[in-house]
């Protein structure tokens, strides 16, 4: 394969890049655009590629930056909703004393071994739909946290929000994801 031809990159790694982008953005159209932008950016910056990593790793790193750009833009489009979120005392999970309203059930052990691959795929499907149900701002913040692999200060400055705002958004996203996973995965699994 000619490693210097971007059309070959598309043939070889297009599906992989698309799968990564789709998982991280949750939107097929956006993922397709990100793959295109990644390949164009890679072609334009190919002179800077020193060959220290494989083409696939290099393309994945460019794609990650494109995803982060998209998440930042998505966050800023939705930013007014931050201020419309319920105040901290109105969260659904707690009563007015800040005590859990409902009993929290124990989670079963989740799929770990290769033989559990079907269960793992089912778990991922649930996780994917739970992520999709998150408010866009919370989703963008959570994705950035996992993809940035950097200090939260970097995320705060990229999004132009305070650390307290970030923690509240992450906290609420985690609680929502926990409830969603509890409802749609663990409770169903325990009924089997």
């Amino acid at each position: 394969m000619n490693n210097q031809d971007p059309v070959n990159w598309l043939d070889e790694y297009g599906d992989y890049l698309y799968a990564v982008a789709l998982r991280q953005t949750g939107n097929a159209t956006v993922a397709e655009d990100i793959v295109q932008d990644t390949l164009i950016a890679a072609w334009q910056g190919f002179e800077g590629f020193k060959g220290e990593s494989s083409i696939k790793t290099w393309l994945t790193a460019i794609l990650k930056n494109k995803v982060l750009d998209y998440l930042r833009r998505a966050f800023h489009r939705e930013i007014p909703t931050i201020f419309e979120e319920p105040s901290s005392t109105q969260d659904d999970d707690f009563n007015s004393w800040g005590i859990w309203k409902n009993k929290v059930a124990k989670w079963a052990v989740w799929p770990e071994t290769p033989e559990d691959s079907v269960s793992r795929q089912q778990l991922y499907d649930v996780l994917k739909s739970c992520l999709e149900k998150l408010p866009k701002v919370q989703r963008a913040v959570m994705m950035m946290k996992f993809l940035e692999e950097r200090e939260s200060e970097t995320i705060c400055s990229a999004l132009n929000i305070t650390a307290s705002n970030l923690w509240i958004l992450v906290f609420r996203a985690r609680l929502k994801l926990r409830s969603c996973l509890d409802m749609n995965w663990y409770k169903k699994e325990s009924l089997k």
């Binding site: 971007p6 397709e32 004393w97 124990k106 994705m143 993809l147």
Partner: protein, 91 residues
């Protein structure tokens, strides 16, 4: 007033969950850590939630970054569109 502060800071599950979420990402201040530990030892439900949120983070990290991704393919139309764009760029 003091009672309210004590209840919200030390006995509140909500406050605990907030501190726990923060502690996953960065160390807590001494004051927050004390409140966190106090609550952790007496509240069974919060211990369970704490474990679940850590599990959730691990699963989410795995889901978002693992190599063995879903078998999805770029639509043919998109491949054609991107190929054309790249050919234009090459010129």
């Amino acid at each position: 007033m003091i009672r309210e502060w004590f209840v919200t800071s030390w006995f509140s599950c909500r406050k605990f969950a907030e501190r726990m979420s923060r502690s996953v990402d960065r160390p807590l201040s001494t004051r927050d850590r004390l409140g966190y530990l106090f609550h952790f030892y007496w509240c069974f439900t919060c211990r369970r939630v704490s474990k679940q949120i850590r599990q959730l983070d691990r699963e989410l990290g795995r889901y978002l970054t693992e190599e063995d991704l879903d078998k999805v393919t770029l639509p043919q139309e998109t491949i054609k569109k991107i190929s054309e764009k790249l050919s234009e760029e090459k010129r």
